[in-house]
């Protein structure tokens, strides 16, 4: 029996639309992040891994099991999907409990295990409320509880930190880390590279359905740190501001915005730059707004992926 999640020359087409193409992967235990812009094929890869969609070509094996055998596959796989819909009328507890009952677990065991899973995601207080009335973060957590409930060896999590507040994020990250330490396979997708950067052992970068980079996180991380941040500052006197900012060491490049009412600036140390901006604002410059111009992460991908086309 294999101890890896294996993709062999896997392609998936939705009619004429490409999902993923010629993917070859061998995923080891630990936390693996699938990173890519929207539409790059992250969810398709996860759905393929869990048999929710079938490959148009190629072969997939999860720890030696084919993905078209859900009866065996989901005994050791838990998948927290991005689909934000739940069976009608169920409470949080019933959602987990029914899932465990479907697995064939005796009713008493299912009840006990369901409560354990709910406790793990800190949802005990809300467990008796209907899922339809949950906030986005609560729905995310109850989905995580479902994926974790039967203590799977492989945890597939599609954008698991979406909608979570900072405290819940750190709790969930700790949970993933603990699972990975126990030898689990934790596959996480995200379009925010900086978010998964801190927790991943390895990263798979996707773009337009292709795997464009795969490897240890350290290599990718060093590239990210070298990548400058772009910031847009709206103010009444952009030229004066540009002159002042060039006096500081963190400014690499600055250009006046097309409309003449702002400044586009590149820096390697965003944190120190923001501190300096506070000082400038106190000195009487009218600043309307400061916003990261490349917070949409596309520029990061552009930088990392190089000449690959980025979906905008």
């Amino acid at each position: 029996m294999s101890d890896r999640i294996i993709f062999e020359d896997v392609s998936k087409f939705y009619g004429e639309i490409l999902g993923v193409n010629r993917v070859n992967l061998s995923i080891p235990p630990g936390i693996t992040s699938l990173v890519g812009p929207n539409g790059s094929g992250k969810t398709t890869l996860m759905n393929l891994m869990t048999g929710l969609v079938k490959p148009s070509r190629g072969r997939i094996e999860v720890l030696g099991y084919p993905t078209d055998d859900p009866e065996n596959l989901f005994k050791f796989v838990g998948y927290s999907t991005q689909f934000d819909a739940f069976p009608k009328g169920l409470t949080g507890f019933q959602f987990i409990y029914s899932y465990l009952c479907l697995s064939g677990m005796p009713l008493q065991d299912a009840e006990r295990t369901a409560w354990q899973a709910i406790e793990r995601v800190n949802m005990v207080d809300a467990a008796s409320r209907k899922v339809a009335a949950y906030s986005k973060g609560m729905r995310q957590r109850i989905r995580l509880a479902q994926a974790l409930a039967h203590n799977p060896k492989v945890l597939v999590l599609d954008e698991p930190l979406n909608g979570l507040d900072p405290l819940a994020r750190s709790e969930m990250i700790a949970l993933f880390r603990a699972s990975a330490t126990e030898g689990c396979y934790v596959i996480i997708s995200s379009h925010i590279l900086h978010e998964v950067d801190v927790i991943s052992d390895q990263v798979i970068l996707l773009s337009n359905g292709y795997v464009v980079a795969e490897g240890q996180i350290q290599t990718v991380r060093s590239e990210i740190q070298e990548h400058p941040t772009q910031i847009l500052i709206r103010c009444d006197r952009p030229r004066e501001l540009a002159a002042k900012l060039f006096e500081s060491e963190y400014t690499i490049e600055a250009s006046i915005h097309n409309d003449g009412r702002g400044l586009l600036l590149k820096t390697r140390d965003a944190d120190r730059f923001y501190l300096a901006m506070n000082q400038l604002a106190l000195n009487g410059l009218q600043i309307e707004s400061i916003a990261p111009a490349d917070d949409d992460v596309l520029s990061v991908y552009e930088y990392l992926i190089g000449n690959e086309e980025v979906v905008r």
């Binding site: 989901f74 998948y79 689909f83 819909a85 009328g89 899932y99 064939g104 479902q146």
Partner: protein
């Protein structure tokens, strides 16, 4: 393994039944099942009211009449002759008609409507100028007519429309509804064979439709029998195959749920918009009497009609095509009809099991 599958089937049934029985969206199915019951309750109330009125008329009469007395009146008898047999009428309506006999002359005709009753049956006599012209006996309990009326409602309304649309609503919801709600992945993420999931969902649908429609059928029977007096009810149930017919109707309802259920289950999996096949089946079932013998067999209603215990007579003057629609020209034997439905259902379930293994979660295409 079989034990595990059974446990999983039970879990699917529990989950599905909750959704089916308590969903607001499914309330219309209860309405569909309840309408014929309400209709027969209304019938029972109307008939009871009618009987009460008949009894009152009999009581108000000059003498106590027997059914034979009512039959003794013949056309052409005078009002006095009628009164000699039946006594003074408890209810009389009269009016005068002026009928033209020439350019400037008219003839006056005195019309009288007499109403007698023996307590159960009504006799309506139409007299013109003191002579009986028309005789109309309305029987209070006409088991034969009532049984045919019940059979007509069962065959043409309950079976063809109520159960059809009820099964459409419940069985299509099992998979297509989950896809539309974007919640099918919940089941597909559990360690359960897709075929077991399908079997569980089908059984849940069957249990729901059978509970709803068999209950409706039983309530219809009770409502239908309500207005009969105990003697007539006993006569119908124990000496006129009434009990046997009621059991057959329940059985046919059950088989209809299996047949239509299996069809709509597979239609919900195969078609993105199952309304088109549903409309096609509605038409196919409708034109079944006009189809050649071979094609007739690929229909649920063909077998169900063969099992129905009461043949609906074609009244004289019914247009040819409509008569064909009512009559069951070449019925199959009951065992063959049962096997036929089960074979049709098994075929549909086989296609469903193949289809469910191929199903993918791709909500964006819906």
């Amino acid at each position: 393994m079989t034990r595990l599958w059974w446990t999983q089937v039970k879990a699917v049934i529990r989950l599905e039944l909750k959704k089916t029985f308590f969903a607001k969206r499914g309330l219309w199915i209860y309405a569909v099942a309840a309408l014929p019951v309400l209709l027969f309750i209304a019938y029972a109330v109307a008939m009871s009211h009618e009987q009460h009125r008949t009894t009152e008329i009999a009581r108000d009469g000059e003498r106590r009449l027997a059914y034979q007395d009512l039959l003794a009146i013949k056309p052409g008898m005078t009002k006095q002759e009628v009164a000699a047999i039946l006594g003074k009428p408890p209810l009389v309506f009269h009016w005068t008609e002026r009928r033209p006999t020439g350019p400037n002359s008219t003839e006056e005709i005195l019309h009288e409507d007499l109403h007698y009753s023996d307590g159960q049956n009504d006799l309506y006599l139409g007299l013109a100028n003191g002579k009986v012209q028309s005789i109309n006996i309305h029987e209070g309990y006409n088991l034969g007519e009532d049984a045919i009326m019940f059979a007509g409602v069962f065959q043409f309304f309950f079976l063809r429309l109520a159960i059809f649309f009820g099964c459409l609503g419940i069985f299509m919801n099992l998979f297509r509804g989950e896809v539309l709600d974007r919640s099918l992945h919940f089941y597909f993420l559990a360690p359960i064979r897709r075929e077991v999931l399908m079997a569980g969902k089908f059984l849940a649908g069957l249990l729901a439709t059978c509970t709803i429609f068999v209950t409706s059928e039983l309530l219809q029977t009770i409502a239908f029998l309500w207005h009969f007096n105990p003697q007539t009810r006993d006569l119908y149930l124990y000496h006129n195959h009434g009990l046997e017919h009621a059991a057959v109707y329940v059985g046919v309802t059950f088989l209809a749920c299996i047949g239509y259920g299996a069809f709509f289950l597979v239609a919900g999996m195969l078609f993105r918009n199952p309304i088109i096949p549903a409309a096609a089946v509605l038409i196919w079932e409708g034109i079944n009497p006009f189809l050649p013998a071979l094609l007739k067999q690929f229909s649920v209603i063909y077998y169900l009609k063969s099992l129905c215990p009461v043949e609906i007579p074609v009244s004289p003057g019914t247009p040819g095509l409509f008569a064909l629609f009512i009559s069951n020209a070449d019925p199959v034997s009951p065992p063959l009809a049962i096997v036929g439905i089960l074979v049709v259902a098994l075929l549909a379930l086989f296609v469903s099991s193949v289809q469910v293994r191929r199903m993918e979660i791709n909500y964006t295409s819906e």
